[in-house]
């Protein structure tokens, strides 16, 4: 990846073997004044005479140095903006975020700011502004930060005499942290000879959409001693080979809902180096330690946002991302984040605010409060489709399609699964339940259609891009009084396992709308769904009846997928979305 090396750059900058008292990170003989400025105790060196200098130093200044400066080259006082990732990972495997430690050799998340060699007597004044709580500069590896967060620099300003070619190091402690750094070159009388200002920008956290290739899949293996074990579910994922890892369920309190505890995201520095980030939900059920256990290491960060109190809305099945879209002329190259929330309840407000603060995926809300679980993944999803206008189709639950399909079937068709666990032994028993139909009509009118319109509006969707998926919801009692849940296993709650051309899979809940379990070919819903799906995918209909469906979830809920970013230059393609950039 060509990541920078902290130690090597410092060695080159300070010139090892000099009389620096054994600390090759510090300026020889420097002293720190009470005002935070530093002065170089070395003999003054010739100042630039400005001849040929790009910075246009004062031509009237005569060097008082004994040195002949007439041939000295000009000082290039131009600097590139600095973009880095939040130092949230654990490059030294000490079990804590690197931002919480001083820089160390293995830390590859600090961005160099290399200063040119300056004539004798000149100094540099740095002034930082913006998100100074989450941006800091280091000079050398020891002690406190030099400027910015946690530093001693009063007024966010420091003046010092750099060593020739010295590099400072910029560190970011937050995603989409933004600041500016003014670099002024001062003469011996502290007059400004030159000035430059650069942007310091910590990479925003970017969540994954379904058009990004799948890299690896995680499911929870419940077969080692958990109830409602998921043998058939795991067996279906065997088709994807070693790209699937089973997290041992008995190590995590048999919590099977791995979609809900973590969300994978990425950040990229200005050089395109990638940092993987796992967002850890405040859900904090059995899988709570998975981020620390599996996804916290060098170049793998994790973090949590939100204070709670937690609800089911805080699970990450309630957080999804559209493919890249253009809406009313505005491009969203990384897609848009959406989550379930309304005025009264939904995903944690602090977490929602954090997502909004990342700007580049412009989050919006949809109303998921009508569902018992309350997750947006229960009724909509996205699948890649190379034949589609923008490369995807939007799958959306459609109760009218479901009733039309059911009414077209033999009403006496036995449905053993639905008879046993839902009280609907035949197709006709579903069709003829007036209260069930009334409930579905009501949620269609109150939620499904309005949210469909909202998705169209927020994402600029065309009708051509939308595939209706026959779905019926049942009205629950008990702790979810009056709220809805998929009666027929929600086929939109699928996993897109798109590893590459010719190697793309859709892992779909088996609807079991048939008499014989083993005869998927006789299932009218499977037939309808298969016919509607893009041909580039291999379809796998998975028995998740006992292991997920009866526990209020489906395939997507029990799976998580890490994906490869398609675009890394967020500061260019997303500039119009990043306010003030």
């Amino acid at each position: 990846m060509g990541r920078k090396r902290w130690v090597l750059a410092c060695v080159l900058a300070v010139g090892c073997g000099g009389d620096d008292g054994g600390n090759n990170m510090s300026t020889a003989g420097s002293e720190t004044g009470s005002d935070g400025t530093t002065t170089d105790g070395s003999e003054s060196s010739p100042s630039s005479d400005g001849t040929g200098s790009e910075t246009g130093s004062d031509a009237g200044t005569d060097s008082e140095s004994e040195s002949d400066t007439s041939g000295e080259p000009g000082v290039d006082w131009s600097f590139a903006d600095i973009r880095g990732v939040a130092n949230d990972d654990d490059d030294n495997s000490e079990g804590r975020r690197d931002w919480l430690e001083p820089p160390f050799d293995a830390d590859n998340d600090l961005e160099p700011l290399t200063l040119p060699a300056l004539p004798e007597g000149e100094q540099v004044r740095l002034t930082i502004a913006g998100d100074t709580n989450h941006i800091r500069l280091w000079r050398g590896g020891a002690g406190a930060p030099f400027l910015g967060a946690n530093s001693d620099a009063a007024g966010f300003e420091v003046t010092f005499t750099p060593d020739a070619g010295e590099s400072l190091w910029v560190e970011f402690g937050e995603y989409n942290a933004r600041g500016t750094l003014k670099l002024e070159r001062l003469d011996a009388a502290s007059e400004v000879l030159d000035s430059a200002e650069i942007v310091l920008h910590g990479a925003p956290l970017i969540l994954n959409h379904h058009l990004q290739p799948a890299e690896h899949i995680w499911v929870v293996d419940l077969t080692g001693g958990c109830g409602a074990a998921n043998g058939p579910f795991l067996a279906a994922y065997d088709a994807l080979g070693d790209r699937v890892t089973g997290v041992p369920g008995t190590s995590y309190d048999c919590d099977r809902w791995i979609q809900d505890e973590i969300e994978f995201a990425t950040g990229h520095d200005g050089g395109g180096a990638r940092q993987d980030v796992t967002i850890d939900s405040i859900r904090d059920r059995g899988l709570d330690d998975v981020p620390e256990d599996l996804f916290f290491s060098a170049d793998n960060a994790y973090n949590t946002w939100g204070k709670g109190p937690k609800t089911s809305f805080d699970s990450f099945g309630n957080l999804e991302i559209s493919p890249p879209v253009t809406v009313d002329g505005v491009e969203y190259p990384f897609g848009r984040v959406y989550f379930g929330r309304d005025a009264q309840e939904g995903i944690d407000a602090e977490f929602a605010d954090f997502l909004i603060s990342q700007e580049i995926q412009a989050p919006f809300e949809v109303d998921s409060t009508w569902l018992c679980v309350g997750h947006v993944d229960e009724w909509m999803s996205w699948v890649p489709d190379k034949t589609a206008p923008r490369g995807f189709r939007f799958l959306y639950s459609d109760v009218d399609m479901a009733y039309a399909l059911l009414e077209g079937l033999d009403q006496n068709l036995p449905l053993p699964r639905f008879g046993a666990d839902h009280g609907y032994p035949t197709v006709g028993s579903i069709v003829d339940d007036n209260a069930l139909r009334a409930y579905n009509e009501d949620i269609r009118d109150d939620y499904l259609l309005p949210m469909r319109a909202r998705m169209k509006s927020e994402l600029g969707l065309s009708e051509e891009e939308i595939i209706g998926v026959p779905s019926i919801f049942e009205e629950l009692g008990g702790g979810c009084s009056g709220l809805g849940l998929a009666l027929i296993p929600g086929m939109v709650n699928l996993i897109v396992a798109n590893f590459g051309d010719g190697d793309s899979h859709l892992m779909v809940p088996d609807p079991f709308l048939r008499t014989s379990d083993n005869d998927q070919g006789a299932d009218p819903l499977i037939a309808a769904f298969t016919a509607a799906m893009p041909g580039e995918h291999q379809l796998h209909y998975i028995d998740n009846w006992y292991s997920y469906h009866l526990l209020s979830g489906e395939v997507h809920c029990g799976t998580n997928v890490r994906r490869t970013p398609l675009v890394t230059n967020w500061w260019e393609v997303g500039a119009h979305l990043l306010g003030g950039n």
Binding site: G225, G227, A229, L234, R285, G286, A420, L476, G477, L551
Partner: protein, 269 residues
């Protein structure tokens, strides 16, 4: 896929209970193989070969699992056997210190046994202390015999706890012959709790209880938006033409609540 595959004692016990051959040690061990044969089986066949004793033992050992929403539920084809009913009832009566959540999970499974659980449900509605459990019992009455369902729903509608009353009002709409409880539903229109009133309205609409029309029409100017919304829909379901002619319906097209206004515009034609 990579994952650890230990053969657990639990899996072996199930294997023995089911009369299955124990997994071959030389084969790639899959602890889930035996359980898989149960969990992937169609409900009727999962327990067909099990003795009463084996099934009882297995049902006693069933542990409710956490749903995605965080509740407990028994999810196993072992439940889908009428012989499971007495075992579940035995657990309700006999297990010490059962949490409310676990009790709710056990009663939720009663209808799924396929046995005639109605009498037991009605009895439990009169003796169960936890309202949350009674509410689950009420919801399950949809699958009871009509006589037990109506008896149980009547008890639920008269319950001191609003959650139970709401569950009772809701389930009536799903019952064969639920209109026999129309008077109780109409009485529930005056309940203090919005959820009870709304559930009663919706059940009256689903059952198309014509005598309730005037009473529902009077709710079109109720102060609670959800009451107005569902009264509007119930009226339409009972008699669409008569509902459209109501002056209150046209007025609701300009209701301050967007859902109410949208419904009125749709139903008003």
């Amino acid at each position: 896929m990579s994952f650890a595959r230990p053969l657990t004692l639990g899996a072996l016990a199930v294997a023995l209970a089911l009369g299955c051959d124990t997994p071959d040690d030389d084969a790639t061990p899959r602890a889930g193989a035996v359980e898989a044969s149960v969990e992937s089986a169609a409900p009727a066949s999962a327990t067909a070969g099990m003795s009463d004793a084996a099934l009882a033992s297995a049902v006693r050992a069933l542990v409710p699992q956490r749903t995605r929403a965080g509740q407990l539920r028994l999810s196993s084809p072992l439940v889908n056997d009428p012989r499971a009913l007495p075992i579940l009832l035995e657990r309700l009566r006999g297990e010490q210190d059962l949490s409310v959540e676990t009790r709710a999970a056990l009663v939720e499974a009663l209808p799924r046994t396929g046995a005639d659980f109605g009498a037991a449900a009605v009895g439990l509605l009169q003796t169960e202390e936890a309202p949350a459990v009674r509410a689950v019992l009420a919801a399950g009455l949809r699958r009871a015999t009509p006589e037990h369902a109506r008896a149980g729903a009547a008890l639920a509608l008269a319950d001191a706890d609003p959650e139970v009353r709401e569950a009772g009002a809701r389930v009536v709409g799903y019952l064969d012959g639920g209109e026999a409880l129309a008077d109780a539903l109409v009485a529930a229109l005056d309940d203090d709790v919005e959820g009870v009133r709304v559930a009663a309205i919706r059940s009256l609409g689903a059952l198309k209880v014509t005598p309730a029309f005037p009473r529902l029409a009077a709710l079109l100017d109720d102060g609670t938006p959800s009451v107005r919304l569902h009264a509007l829909r119930a009226l339409h379901r009972i008699d669409a033409a008569k509902a459209q002619a109501l002056p209150g319906v046209k007025a609701l097209a300009r209701d301050g609540d967007p859902k109410v206004a949208a419904a009125a515009r749709k139903l008003g034609g």
